[in-house]
């Protein structure tokens, strides 16, 4: 009779039947496992890989800790967290609405090029607070502007945003390069790069550390975004749109407005990330430079289930892995690209768990229905989000 029970369970599952609701604790545990398991499995698999290559994984991970956290390494990790967190927040906002913004590279580099290009002229001559505010707004505004076309195309013509944001990203990267090599080129050097922001005009550090106040700005943004997503009508509208566009239309949510505003906020935060990063860490932009923060951030955004608070420890983990891992890899004589292998392993295990989770009822998918839909039909217009 095993056959029969399987049949009924399957049928109930397929129909999404309201079977016995697991308790809150069980649900929490499943969610937590689903979020942490890929990371843990990736670290283990990465260790096995190192063993196979004849390296000592224990000393590698100890070194990651040594360089990334202990003996002042945490300061580098914290500085790296600032742009990563801001981009993560920007992604969380659109992903919650069931919309993909994959144009973060273009949005970031446009903001970065403008800040690095205008900063050296504005900062020495204007009062510092005013200059910072203007540069932040310029970067944020540019990032937002760069999402406007995909937003309008999606809101009015239901054109798939995966394609349009990616294309806008390439345009943004190209335009940023033109700006760096053209109007913003540092006339004193032969390398294609902008002038450098004077050291004393950079964002101030906290006490005697190398951690600048951009990190505080990013953490503040986490609080603000989390509040907006969980306590305001804006957040609820995003959630309803993300959960089910048909419901959103039915209950009278202005879909176009929600799509455009969520896109604009997303681009704005990515732009702010660029401003914080240039003003706090880099001080200039070189042509063809692209840190591609967003690519690294995306898996963690989904592991954190689009929760702005939960994403902080994940980003911290990645920042430590990234800063500590660079040196640790060199120590055991591995290329630094080995870190990419670890991130790829996380993605791999996320995929495996997603697949298993669909087979057995193991907590919810990492992706919301709207995001899945956009992936399934990238080339056709979707009637659902009219």
């Amino acid at each position: 009779m095993a056959l029969e029970t399987e049949t009924t369970a399957d049928a109930a599952l397929a129909a999404g039947a309201p079977t016995a609701e697991p308790s809150r604790l069980v649900r929490w545990w499943r969610t937590a496992m689903r979020s942490l398991a890929p990371v843990i499995l990736a670290l283990i698999a990465g260790g096995l890989l190192m063993l196979a290559l004849g390296r000592n994984p224990v000393s590698f991970y100890v070194n990651v800790w040594q360089y990334g956290v202990a003996s002042g390494g945490w300061q580098n990790s914290a500085v790296l967290m600032a742009p990563l967190l801001l981009i993560a927040l920007g992604l969380i906002i659109v992903f919650r609405a069931g919309i993909w913004n994959l144009g973060y590279d273009g949005q970031y580099l446009m903001g970065a090029a403008l800040v690095a290009g205008l900063g050296p002229s504005i900062l020495p001559s204007w009062p510092a607070p005013l200059a910072y505010v203007v540069l932040f707004l310029v970067a944020g505004g540019t990032g937002a502007l760069w999402t406007l076309l995909p937003a309008v195309l999606k809101a009015w013509y239901d054109i798939n945003e995966i394609i349009t944001t990616l294309m806008m990203s390439f345009i943004g990267i190209g335009v940023a390069n033109i700006l760096v090599k053209g109007p913003f080129q540092d006339p004193t050097v032969n390398i294609p790069q902008t002038r450098t922001i004077p050291f004393d005009k950079m964002l101030p550090d906290l006490g005697s550390t190398r951690v600048h106040i951009g990190v505080i700005i990013a953490l503040g943004a986490v609080i603000v975004v989390h509040y907006a997503l969980t306590r305001t009508s804006f957040g609820l509208r995003l959630q309803v749109l993300g959960a089910n566009p048909r419901t959103a239309r039915h209950v009278g949510i202005n879909l176009r407005r929600v799509i455009v505003t969520s896109f604009l906020w997303s681009g704005f935060l990515v732009g702010i990330a660029a401003a914080v990063d240039i003003l706090g860490l880099w001080a200039y932009v070189r042509a063809n430079w692209n840190p591609a923060y967003g690519d690294a951030v995306i898996p963690f955004v989904f592991l954190a289930r689009l929760n702005a608070l939960v994403v902080v420890p994940f980003i911290a983990f990645y920042a430590v892995l990234s800063t500590g891992g660079d040196l640790a890899a060199q120590q055991v004589n591995l290329p630094t690209d080995f870190l990419l292998v670890l991130v790829a392993l996380i993605l791999l295990f996320m995929t495996v768990i997603e697949y298993l989770g669909r087979r057995r009822d193991m907590g919810q998918s990492y992706l919301s229905p709207g995001l899945k839909e956009a992936l399934r039909h990238p080339l056709v217009r979707r009637r659902s989000a009219q």
């Binding site: 056959l3 049928a11 039947a17 309201p18 306590r231 305001t232 009508s233 959960a243 239309r249």
Partner: protein, 537 residues
């Protein structure tokens, strides 16, 4: 009724007590159907009656919750479409599954068991044989995309038989065909019967069932409402059969009420009870459609030049088989669908250009039929789901900030008033039963001074008690001076509730009938697409 077949023959297919349940809906309730070799068995019923579920089970797309399937007398388990094909059950779906860019021959070879090399010549010979047998002319090298729909369907039938099917399921096969196509199909069916193929023919058109069926089973709300044996079909007059089938399709009570003169007084009592003691015609017009048209979406047809008025204190029913533009009508009124021509007026003011929420503020409410897919957000709590149509509005939101305490206080009194059975206000709405979900929607739509309410299948899939509750709520609503439109495929329901019944057919208003003794017959005729006038002619 159906037990009169000779016991000597072993039936090709027996479905025994098939039950299939979806959340909130009993799609098939102990349905038993028998199909003999060389016989066309028509399954007749409205959409939503359970026909599709039944054939999905037979073709392996769904698995039944209980019940068994016997093939040539032996019990079989059909766990996948592949199983069904292996057992010789072929299905021709409503919409073409041929690959338009490939030729007829290539399409057929796709379905065959694959060897490494394609046996083109063998296939060509086989096609010629089968085509001759079925009386079909078909060019093996024609691209299927270039063929007329009727021809494509013939290729699909050949494709189903290609794999040796002895049972053929035809799902609404005439829905895409011209008259000539239908005739050709009937010819093919006769040839198939001669070959001994058992045919299950799904339709919602009565005259078709009578024309092709050797036996007709009528499904209604997931149950087998009745069956007509071949003897009955042969011996009764067309007129009697039609009356009998209408009775089976749309319910016994309504037919009885309509038929028996002494019950007519009861009906007027019901009307008086529903608050229409003042003549309805005197209320102000709350909702009016003036030749309103809207485009359809997907397979759902749009509406064309629909006009009607609904007055204060009146319930207008909209009857019609499912998929005749009901959703387009409801959404056009609610503002979820653009009106391409004509106007929708609320209280005498055109609202074509007003958004969904602006119409809500005027007092318009639309209760959707798609509770799970459109009505609620599963992962959101019950209380927030009740307030989804008021997002951002004071006093529940102030300066955009949600006032959870206020929402929960209001929600808890609504949960009590509408008797929503839930484990708590924060329980996810997706965990509610179908009936409680419906009550949640009622609470949402009716709690803030509604003036015009459109109900779409308000009691679909609900148990009797909840059904009564919902109908009572609707009656209370008009008693308090609202205007109500009830769109339903359940004619009993419309006759019980409504003052007038409009019939929607292929997106057009086929007519409006006053609720009275003849209503069932008139509405039934309008639904099936032959008005009284046509019949007499």
């Amino acid at each position: 009724m159906a037990g009169t077949q000779s016991p000597v023959r072993v039936p090709a297919i027996e479905l025994v007590n098939i039950t299939k349940r979806f959340p909130g809906v009993l799609a098939n309730d102990r349905v038993s159907v028998t199909v003999q070799h060389g016989e066309v068995h028509c399954l007749l019923g409205e959409n939503g009656a359970g026909k599709s579920t039944l054939i999905s089970i037979l073709s392996g797309m769904l698995r039944p919750d209980s019940g068994s399937i016997r093939l040539d007398g032996a019990e079989v388990g059909i766990r996948s479409p592949r199983d069904a094909l292996r057992l010789g059950i072929g299905t021709v779906y409503q919409h073409s599954t041929l690959i338009p860019a490939l030729t007829v021959l290539e399409n057929l070879m796709l379905g065959a068991r694959s060897r490494l090399m394609l046996d083109r010549d063998g296939a060509r010979k086989r096609l010629a044989e089968m085509a001759a047998q079925l009386g079909i002319e078909v060019d093996p090298e024609a691209r299927t995309g270039d063929l007329a729909l009727g021809r494509q369907q013939q290729v699909e039938i050949i494709s189903a038989l290609w794999r040796g099917s002895r049972v053929l399921i035809l799902d609404e096969p005439t829905s895409m065909l011209t008259l000539q196509g239908v005739e050709e199909l009937q010819k093919v069916l006769r040839r198939l019967k001669e070959r001994g193929t058992a045919i299950v023919f799904i339709t919602h058109k009565l005259h078709e069932a009578l024309a092709v069926g050797d036996r007709v089973s009528i499904l209604r709300r997931g149950r087998l409402a009745g069956a007509l044996s071949s003897q009955q079909l042969a011996s009764s007059s067309m007129e009697d059969l039609r009356a009998e089938i209408i009775r089976l399709m749309f319910g016994e009570e309504s037919a009885e009420i309509a038929g028996a003169a002494e019950l007519n007084t009861d009906l007027t009592d019901v009307e008086e009870e529903s608050g229409s003691s003042t003549p309805v015609a005197e209320g102000d017009v709350f909702l009016e459609l003036k030749s309103a048209s809207a485009r359809g979406e997907g397979t759902e047809p749009g509406i064309e030049e629909v006009s009607f008025q609904v007055r204060e204190g009146e319930i207008l029913g909209v009857a019609g088989m499912d998929g005749n533009g009901q959703r387009s009508l409801a959404e056009a009124i609610a503002g979820q669908r653009r009106i391409t021509s004509g106007t929708v007026e609320l209280f005498g003011v055109p609202v074509n250009r007003l958004s969904v929420s602006a119409r809500q503020r005027l007092g318009l409410r639309y209760m959707t039929d798609d509770r799970l897919g459109e009505g609620i957000v599963r992962n959101l709590g019950v209380s927030l789901n009740i307030f989804l149509k008021r997002i951002g509005e004071p006093p529940f939101w102030r300066w955009g900030r949600v006032d959870r305490r206020r929402i929960n206080a209001e929600a808890s009194s609504l949960v009590k008033a509408f008797d929503i059975r839930t484990s708590g206000l924060e329980a996810r709405a997706g965990t509610l039963s179908g009936g409680n979900m419906q009550k949640l929607l009622l609470a949402r739509e009716l709690s803030f001074n509604p003036k015009v309410v459109v109900f779409h299948k308000p009691t679909y899939g609900l148990d009797l008690k909840t059904t009564e509750h919902v109908r009572e709520v609707i009656r209370d609503l008009v008693r308090d001076g609202a205007a109500v439109v009830v769109i339903s495929t359940d004619l009993d329901e419309l006759l019980e509730l409504c003052h007038r019944v409009a019939v929607l057919s292929r997106g057009r208003l086929a007519g409006v009938v006053g609720n009275g003794p003849d209503a069932v017959d008139q509405v039934g005729s309008l639904m099936i697409g032959m008005s009284k006038g046509q019949e007499a002619a």
